[in-house]
Symmetry: C2
Subunit: 327 residues, 2 copies
Amino acid sequence: MIDTLLRREFPFASLKLLASARSAGTVIDVRGESIPVLEATPEAFEGVDIALFSAGGDVSLRLAPEAVKRGALVIDNTSAYRMAPEVPLVVPEVNAHEIFNHHGIIANPNCSTIQMMVALYPIYQVYGIRRIVVSTYQAASGAGQRAIEELKQTAAAILTGESPTASVLPVSKLEKHYPLAFNVLPQIDVFEANGYTKEEMKMVNETHKILADSRIQVTPTAVRVPVVYGHSEAVYVETEKPFVLEDVKNLLANSPGLILQDDPANQIYPQPLQAAGEFPVFVGRVRKDLFVENGLSLWVVADNILKGAALNAVQIAEIWVRQEGVL
Amino acid sequence: MIDTLLRREFPFASLKLLASARSAGTVIDVRGESIPVLEATPEAFEGVDIALFSAGGDVSLRLAPEAVKRGALVIDNTSAYRMAPEVPLVVPEVNAHEIFNHHGIIANPNCSTIQMMVALYPIYQVYGIRRIVVSTYQAASGAGQRAIEELKQTAAAILTGESPTASVLPVSKLEKHYPLAFNVLPQIDVFEANGYTKEEMKMVNETHKILADSRIQVTPTAVRVPVVYGHSEAVYVETEKPFVLEDVKNLLANSPGLILQDDPANQIYPQPLQAAGEFPVFVGRVRKDLFVENGLSLWVVADNILKGAALNAVQIAEIWVRQEGVL
């Protein structure tokens, strides 16, 4: 988050770093200035204009209202407020106007939803979208730093012929854990009663809310793969109106936040190892369905920590600041 | 292949091992007996009842007719004859009867098609299938031993902070190569003019041939993931007739070659690391679509080297031997 603020040259006058009592007291170097980490108490939000929350849903539920009470705009990276009717759920390339309808809190969508929305919104605007079938290839970093460490440890164990042990993935708070290295885990977050995971239901519900269109039929399968940074998605859509493939490619090549990497003859297509550390969403393998009228397949890759989290939040703050002249 | 023949206790009287001139001369230990590898010449097939081919399409095109001429039944693991009209394309759990329509050659389907067919055929029989949208998560072993080595080398390089180099994956004969470790590559085999890869077109064409039903709309995306053994597939189908979810699960639990691993509450679902070395196809995450009438999603995993190749070929030979009393 700090890194993204700096890379975007976000115009902050001062930066306050808040964390749990356990982490308070450490000092973080920001542009050569040593900034102490303070404990995130309600009072700590006094004088804060914009509060970027990213410390888990329970922390947001407890402290976001305190920050709002003290005059801050909260941009929340957790799922705590995403489906609250009065809270805008914003992907700037899609529904930036919603930023100005906030009541103190703006929610940042789930990483896998954000990149899909950036890729599909241009198509939605021009052709309409009736349905989406999406399979994800999600990176370990989406489950946090401990998941990254576990991926590396299990990979090293398998490479040296030891048997890998896991205690974090797929869901740290659940009972069973499986190694992700040289494996694929079809579970991200807990299961709901309908057989879908919470991650999958986020892709359904957040798509409906961001596009303000609950008619779209979304069929998700969310899968964790042994990648450190960068989520990939195989996305199939059916548009309402017919399309010419070249027109769709031109549209995607000229849409905000999106880079078209689609040249099969030269083996050019998005890859997570290449997208890691980058701000845009990358799209490729754009092709017409062989059988289904208005069927279209695409391959969408983005850095889940940047566009899927920190960057999207900072973009929201940028638009707010630019329009409101807050700072 | 040898290992599978032994594990299945295939009733062979003698085993002949053939390879290129380069590999000829090595000696392989089979059940304590030292068997020399001979050069695969046309004459080497004299006296052979069943010839299991797995040395690339060009070798099969050159030598399979020579083996047939000398009285052998050829079971071909390559793609050379799969779409030839007079050659049966067989998944024993689906169309074993085709084995007896051969004219000397029986083709073994592509690995990603085989496991999908084992999982979908019971559903196809009872409910009919109108369409399939499938995204694959395919292991490095599908691209051969050099691809496995490259996956391990690139993984080790990244873990030690070196930059990985690739010269095999995604397609060794093409110009560009990308590391697979901690990455995902949306290319398996070369691209065709329609934007689909050859691997994806195999899933379309072979599905039609095996089910003898070219009306099924197949939408594939084939992706290589950093796994050594075991292909996974996120499969969405639309059936012709309505279904009750529990009936589908019972059906899958009682179908040949298939093991239902579907207990989300206890985090039970198929994983490639668990399926590696096993003969069956594993299916889980079976769930009804949230919006689409007759929509069904499943997660299918199998060892691509066993059920996807050697086992399927040996099963074909077993059925032929059992019915014909050849040996």
